[in-house]
């Protein structure tokens, strides 16, 4: 179970001593660089899926910079270092998430459950809800689940990426 302190607007954040990594699930296009490059840190099968103790900071920064969207961004915890970050640090928040720069992450006042039907992909549910499947009945606090809509996942009821392989189109 992830604690509320990991929340920020639009996703979650994870820190080690040196950096904070922001994860914004909405922005992920499943390019998969993160876990192919660094499964020790980015493991979609683990909760929480990001563990910044899994590698040295330089390597984490390198892989976060590979993310083609703002799904993964980062900043130095030492704010004085965030002022002049070089442009090749592509996924530093200065370049990708300017709205986070210099921000003390605001609390999310109201946190409605969202159910998102992804284009030709899974349904992603976020928030506080009760989740019943097979013989499970779980209270999810600030949970995120991604459930298969294509019918072909090998890990039902969850999406395992098969929809892409089979070219699922929900017309």
């Amino acid at each position: 179970m992830e604690s509320d302190k990991n929340k920020f607007s639009g996703g979650r954040k994870y820190s080690n001593k040196e950096i904070t990594v922001y994860w914004k699930p909405d922005a992920c296009v499943h390019a998969s660089y993160c876990y192919r490059e660094l499964i020790e840190v980015f493991d979609p099968g683990r909760r929480p899926w990001v563990d910044l103790n899994g590698a040295v900071t330089d390597r984490i920064i390198e892989v976060v910079n590979m993310c083609p969207t703002e799904a993964l961004t980062w900043k130095w915890n030492d704010e004085s270092k965030n002022g002049n970050v070089s442009i090749d640090q592509t996924n530093h928040i200065n370049f990708r998430r300017p709205e986070l720069v210099g921000q003390k992450e605001p609390e999310i006042a109201d946190n409605p459950v969202t159910v998102k039907i992804m284009t030709d992909g899974p349904v992603v549910i976020k928030g506080d809800f009760r989740f019943k499947y097979s013989n499970n009945d779980k209270e999810m606090k600030d949970g995120i689940i991604s459930l298969c809509r294509c019918g072909q996942s090998g890990h039902q009821p969850f999406c395992d990426g098969t929809h892409r392989k089979i070219g699922f189109e929900d017309i």
Binding site: V113, V115, I117, I125, K132
Partner: protein, 63 residues
């Protein structure tokens, strides 16, 4: 901790075996492909991939 006395209270996500996903309660439904945002209080989302009324279940899973 914030209190739980908000709109999200009472959302139940239920996976129906060999059937759709039943969602009830107060939630925001967003369909990115059809560019739809709605707040239905009960919805059945197709899980079999065969509905002709996506994203909703139309009972095609029984065929």
């Amino acid at each position: 901790m914030e209190n739980n006395d908000n709109k999200s209270k009472g959302v139940i996500i239920e996976v129906i075996d060999d059937g759709p996903l039943k969602i009830t309660g107060n939630f925001i439904l967003k369909d990115l492909k059809r560019d739809l945002t709605d707040t239905p209080e009960e919805v059945y989302i197709c899980r079999c991939g065969r509905s002709s009324n996506m994203p909703y279940c139309d009972d095609s899973h029984k065929k």
